[in-house]
């Protein structure tokens, strides 16, 4: 919402100082987002009087050479392209070389002396657009009345310089959508006197028979409708001050009548409308529900099919406006209009909001109505519109004004008194405010103080503040006027309450830290994915967004992997050859329909409508990180190691990799592992399935590194791991004895079973057995490999082992491996 500071000063009848006003508004809840000084570039522009005009001697374009008097004996010949140069004696506005004017795109540029079609012009005669005073670029500004040559523009027209404030008006403050309301708030916040402007009496006469009209309200969505007829000699161009005022507020001037309705809206915040009385069939307006087959051509030129629930203003034969949103084409004023039918009405906020949404029309009028205009404003706005039409357009009122009210309307009932307790004010704000301060603050805002008894004061909120409905709303007003900067910093009494709505925050955080420590970068991807990338992964989403921003973001992810691999692919497209990414995020299962009663039960259990799981996604691509040694492509054991160290960092547990069950579609069937943690399924790690890879590369236009490893884990399975379960062991006092052995064994036996057999055979003194090398080669029997395994023996308590003992246990271990797996020692 743009606010003209000059207008505010006019309404306050005093200038409190720009900085004070900006600070007060911002602190008081009407944040000033931007302050723009306008018209400061007009310093050197002055009034020039035309002395003579001649055609440009050589130019083919319709240029003229205008000699102007600049006062004090100075005169100048300038080149001018406008077709409306007045006859000698006419007054125009002259910008000399060095002045700044606007180009057609709205940027300022400096005028320089340069030849125009061969003749040097030392300045220019300016249009509204060029001076930033209006939206008209169809010719230069010609003054209505004579002004002395050489008079500076800013002297003759001081409003040419102004400050425009951009206010962020929150939806609860419809009163601040007009200058009057903003001025009232400033006065209350800065403790300045405030009075609404009064209207000059305007000329009125009896209505003739053809000037009679009637208004009928049939819809309960329109509590109040004020109307009157005025006559004009025809619409005209508004005076420069009005055109400039509207321009500065972001609206282009149209004609004297429309400009006056906009002026009233920017002043009072109440939209009004003017019809051409002669275009209203039967001179009768009815506010009623739209009929199912009706259409309305709105002022923006579009024909709209009206819908059930729409409220229209209609004459005897047709609709002439969508209530509170936009008027109709054909019934509005045009240049030949002489008889005006003025409307200032109140429409129900939610009805207007629904209409504006349904028809996708967000107008200045609907913006205000849907926030709640003062229901008592229509007669006031009508009077103000009459005042301006009389002043600006020379309008004369014909007959009496109407003010039709639906007496049954809630909006028009006197507002219920509200009780505000001094003690409650202190409890909420944390600062003591006396009853008399409370009364003063509220009175300044237009509240009526009704009575005062002990702790309680009874107050009535003004009708322009529809947002004030309860005691707490009144307390906010008291706080605003008192000033939030007067509220001190109090130390919170620590209540130390544990959260009731719990999630897996701590586990997510620990998991992220652990994976980052293993050299993976964290990614955060959108929860929605495209169907296409899901199809690449042979996945389907079970829950979709009803109103997505685009079809690319319509499915809630059933897995982190598609989005995570898309993220990993971004840098690959730019030549990055390695990728190490993880994400800890939510994946979404099926949506469950619930009744209202079930919803509350589910909410209390801290569940939502969709089954959500936290997953860990893993992507590793390219070569292993090393230097000064042979480059080695990553393999699945790099990823397995990442999971193993994750488990070890979170606590202690045994990760077992096997190939049980059907692998997910994204997993290479020969290079995947199902991981279990202490018997519970943790997830899958795999080389990306070549089919998935091929589809993904095609759809994403990327070539992934030769090795692409992916994995996904369920975070909840890690929940049992905890530092708390760890037990310290005193360091052993006896040295360990180590024996290495190389075994030739069939590859069909998992390596883990070889280690298991050795440990079984070796007995209880064998505390560790680890594979430290694996060899596959042509000289070995077909289908076998050689595993080098290191066994560590340690005595219980302080028992010292002897070589002889350990050799015996080793023999037993080897015998077991031979017996159960056919392993032979190499």
């Amino acid at each position: 919402m743009k606010i003209s500071y000059a207008w505010i000063v006019e309404l306050l009848q005093t200038d409190p100082g720009l900085d004070r006003v900006v600070r007060a508004l911002t602190d008081g809840g009407l944040e000033v987002e931007h302050v723009a000084q306008v018209g400061t570039h007009l310093q050197s522009v002055c009034v020039a009087v035309v002395q003579s005009v001649r055609a440009h001697p050589t130019s083919k374009n319709p240029l003229s050479l205008v000699t102007v008097d600049l006062g004090q004996g100075a005169s100048l010949e300038v080149v001018c392209g406008a077709s409306n140069v007045p006859a000698p004696g006419g007054c125009v506005l002259f910008a000399p070389a060095g002045a700044h004017v606007f180009d057609k795109k709205g940027s300022l540029f400096e005028l320089v002396e340069k030849p125009v079609a061969g003749i040097v012009s030392k300045g220019m005669l300016c249009s509204e657009i060029e001076l930033g005073l209006g939206g008209d670029d169809n010719g230069i500004i010609v003054l209505d009345a004579p002004v002395a040559a050489g008079t500076p523009l800013l002297t003759w027209f001081s409003a040419a310089r102004d400050t425009v404030l951009e206010l962020n008006v929150t939806p609860n403050r419809p009163d601040a959508l007009g200058h009057l309301g903003v001025a009232r708030d400033i006065a209350a916040l800065l403790d300045l006197p405030f009075a609404e402007p009064s209207n000059e009496p305007h000329p009125t006469r009896e209505a003739t028979a053809s000037e009679q009209f009637s208004v009928q309200i049939e819809s309960d969505r329109c509590p109040r409708f004020s109307a009157a007829v005025m006559t004009v000699a025809g619409t005209t161009r508004s005076p420069l001050w009005l055109r400039t005022r509207l321009w500065r507020l972001g609206v282009r001037a149209i004609d004297s009548v429309v400009d006056c309705t906009n002026l009233v809206m920017f002043e009072l915040g109440q939209p009004t409308h003017v019809y051409d009385l002669d275009a209203i069939e039967g001179h009768a307006l009815t506010v009623r529900a739209a009929r199912s087959d009706e259409t309305l051509q709105t002022l923006d030129g579009k024909t709209r099919a009206l819908l059930q629930g729409d409220v229209v203003i209609a004459d005897a034969g047709k609709c002439v406006g969508l209530a509170g949103v936009m008027g109709g084409e054909g019934s509005g004023v045009s240049s030949g209009t002489t008889r005006l039918l003025l409307e200032a009405a109140h429409f129900d906020a939610s009805a207007v909001r629904r209409m504006a949404k349904r028809h996708d029309m967000h107008t200045d009028a609907s913006h205000r109505f849907e926030r709640g205009v003062d229901p008592q404003c229509p007669p006031k706005a009508l009077a103000r519109l009459q005042h301006w039409l009389a002043t600006v357009a020379g309008a004369v009122q014909a007959g009496k004004s109407l003010d039709i009210q639906r007496t049954d309307s809630v909006a028009l009932q006197p507002r219920e008194p509200l009780v505000v307790r001094t003690s409650r004010v202190a409890r909420v704000l944390g600062v003591q405010i006396t009853p008399s301060e409370i009364a003063t603050y509220l009175s300044r805002l237009g509240f009526k103080m009704l009575s005062h008894e002990g702790d309680a004061q009874s107050v009535r909120a003004p009708t322009h503040r529809p947002d004030v409905l309860q005691e707490i709303d009144v307390i906010e007003e008291i706080g605003r006027v008192h000033g939030y900067d007067k509220i001190h910093n109090a130390v919170l009494p620590a209540s130390g309450a544990s959260a009731g709505a719990r999630g897996d925050y701590a586990l997510r955080r620990a998991t992220r830290n652990a994976l980052a420590a293993s050299g993976l970068d964290e990614a955060v991807t959108y929860s929605f994915v495209s169907d296409r990338v899901l199809a690449d992964f042979a996945m389907e989403s079970s829950v979709r967004i009803a109103n997505p921003l685009s079809q690319d973001r319509a499915a809630l992810r059933p897995s982190l992997l598609p989005g995570l691999l898309q993220s990993a692919a971004v840098a690959v497209r730019y030549g990055e050859r390695r990728g190490r990414l993880f994400e800890v995020g939510t994946v979404f299962g099926a949506l469950q329909e619930v009744s209202r009663a079930q919803e509350l039960t589910e909410t209390r259990a801290n569940r939502g409508p969709v089954q959500e799981h936290t997953c860990v996604g893993l992507v590793m691509m390219g070569e292993a990180d090393q230097w000064l040694s042979l480059a080695r492509p990553l393999d699945l054991f790099d990823l397995k190691g990442v999971v193993e160290s994750l488990v070890e960092r979170l606590g202690r547990g045994t990760v077992v990799a096997d190939r049980v069950g059907e692998p997910p579609a994204w997993a290479h069937p020969a290079a995947f592992a199902r991981l279990t943690l202490d018997g519970e399924v943790l997830g899958t790690i795999a080389v990306l399935h070549p089919d998935v890879r091929e589809r993904f590369e095609a759809s994403q236009s990327v070539t992934l590194p030769a090795v692409t490893l992916v994995g996904e884990l369920r975070l909840s399975v890690l929940a049992g791991l905890s530092e708390v379960t760890l037990k310290a062991k005193a360091p052993p006092k006896t040295p360990a004895m180590v024996r290495d052995v190389a075994l030739l064994v069939a590859r069909s036996h998992p390596a883990a079973s070889v280690v298991g057999a050795l440990r079984e055979g070796a007995g209880s003194r064998c505390v560790r057995a680890e594979i430290f090398d694996r060899y596959v080669g042509d000289e070995l029997p077909e289908g076998t490999h050689s595993l080098a395994i290191s066994l560590v023996f340690r005595g219980a308590n302080e028992e010292t082992l002897t070589d002889v003992q350990v050799d015996q246990w080793m023999q037993a271990a080897l015998a077991r491996a031979t017996e159960t797996l056919g392993a032979t020692q190499r």
Binding site: D521, E522, V543
Partner: protein, 346 residues
């Protein structure tokens, strides 16, 4: 005896040409090895008559000591020589890269979020969480959003597809973490003192808005909680996060679920308001920390809390914006693209 004298005479000289440990062992063996000259003489000792044997034995021992001493000297000489060689060898090219374990990084949003959470946890807050999908009941109704009110436009919502004819409350992606306020209050009676971090969603997509972003909600409900406590809490938080010199201001605002509603600004930690082209505060001197207010009595009532007995405050902070300010991130979408080259820069 003459043989012994000759040996004694030759011992020292014999070690002089030695240049290595094997040579040293060979020379030593020449005298005291199994077939060494001294050893051979010693073996002949029993042949000598008694008195001579004693004298000879003493002489032998003297020679043996001499050999051992010469060996020690020689060893010392070899060690010193080797040390000199080692110290004088070609120096390392230390500019070659280190063998560094790869450093993985937490996402800037996580880092920002954890700093914020830690600041509040240090003040005694516990961490609460709720689901990212929720019903309109928790996202709007219980928070006192008036139906058909423009306040809804402040939060353009993603709704979830539901089967035709569904009659229950509509499911959506939560537009704010304020849903956790409701869930927390419904889960137990006051006192309540939580922060609730998480992902939230709005139908918005431009340089400063992302359809998914991160928020943290705060909620304190107890007897005797006032706006001054809110101010004190957020002031302490701002100083923890931005530095001790930072001051805060509170100004009026509007949120449907708080009354009074305020915005909290922190003074610019970078320029303190002195630089009109400051990249952090854009010259205003203030940074928006977040929206806040006293929990609306209607919200307390909707969540089963007696607003006459208890009061409370709530606040919400946008983590993306804080991260963008801290790390000077020009566009919010960079946070969700996860380009490794971007992630590694932070």
């Amino acid at each position: 005896m003459e043989a012994l004298d000759a040996i004694e005479h030759d011992v020292d000289a014999s070690f002089l040409p030695v240049q290595s440990d094997p040579e040293l062992r060979a020379v030593y063996a020449r005298w005291l090895g199994r077939e060494g000259a001294v050893t051979l003489l010693m073996r002949r000792m029993p042949e000598l008559p008694g008195p001579e044997r004693k004298t000879f034995g003493q002489a032998i021992n003297r020679v043996k000591d001499k050999v051992e001493a010469a060996k020690t000297v020689c060893e010392q000489r070899l060690r010193e020589h080797a040390r000199a060689l080692d110290l004088g060898r070609e120096p390392l090219d230390v500019s070659l890269p280190g063998r560094k374990p790869r450093v993985g990084r937490l996402h800037p949003l996580s880092r920002m979020m954890y700093d914020v959470i830690d600041a509040f946890v240090a003040m005694g807050f516990d961490v609460a969480e709720g689901p990212e999908t929720d019903w309109e009941t928790n996202n709007f109704e219980r928070l006192g959003f008036p139906p058909d009110h423009p306040a809804m436009d402040m939060q353009d919502t993603f709704f979830l597809q539901q089967p035709d004819g569904a009659t229950g409350p509509r499911a959506l992606l939560r537009t704010h973490t304020s849903t956790v306020q409701v869930r927390e209050m419904l889960s137990h009676a006051p006192p309540v003192m939580i922060v609730a971090p998480g992902a939230v969603y709005r139908r918005d997509d431009d340089a400063t808005h992302s359809p998914m972003f991160a928020q943290i909600e705060g909620l304190v409900v107890d007897q005797g909680i006032a706006l001054s406590h809110l101010r004190g809490t957020l002031d302490t938080f701002a100083r923890k996060l931005f530095g001790e010199r930072v001051t805060t201001r509170m100004r009026g605002s509007y949120f449907p679920f708080t009354e009074p509603s305020v915005e909290l600004d922190a003074s610019c930690a970078l320029c303190g308001g002195s630089d009109p082209s400051c990249r952090m505060c854009k010259g205003s001197g203030w940074l928006e920390v977040g929206g806040a207010g006293m929990v609306h009595p209607t919200v307390l009532k909707n969540c089963g809390v007696d607003p006459e007995k208890y009061t409370g405050f709530a606040f919400g902070l946008g983590i993306d914006r804080l991260a963008m300010i801290r790390y000077q991130i020009p566009e919010i979408s960079l946070l969700y693209q996860n380009d490794v080259r971007f992630l590694e820069s932070l």
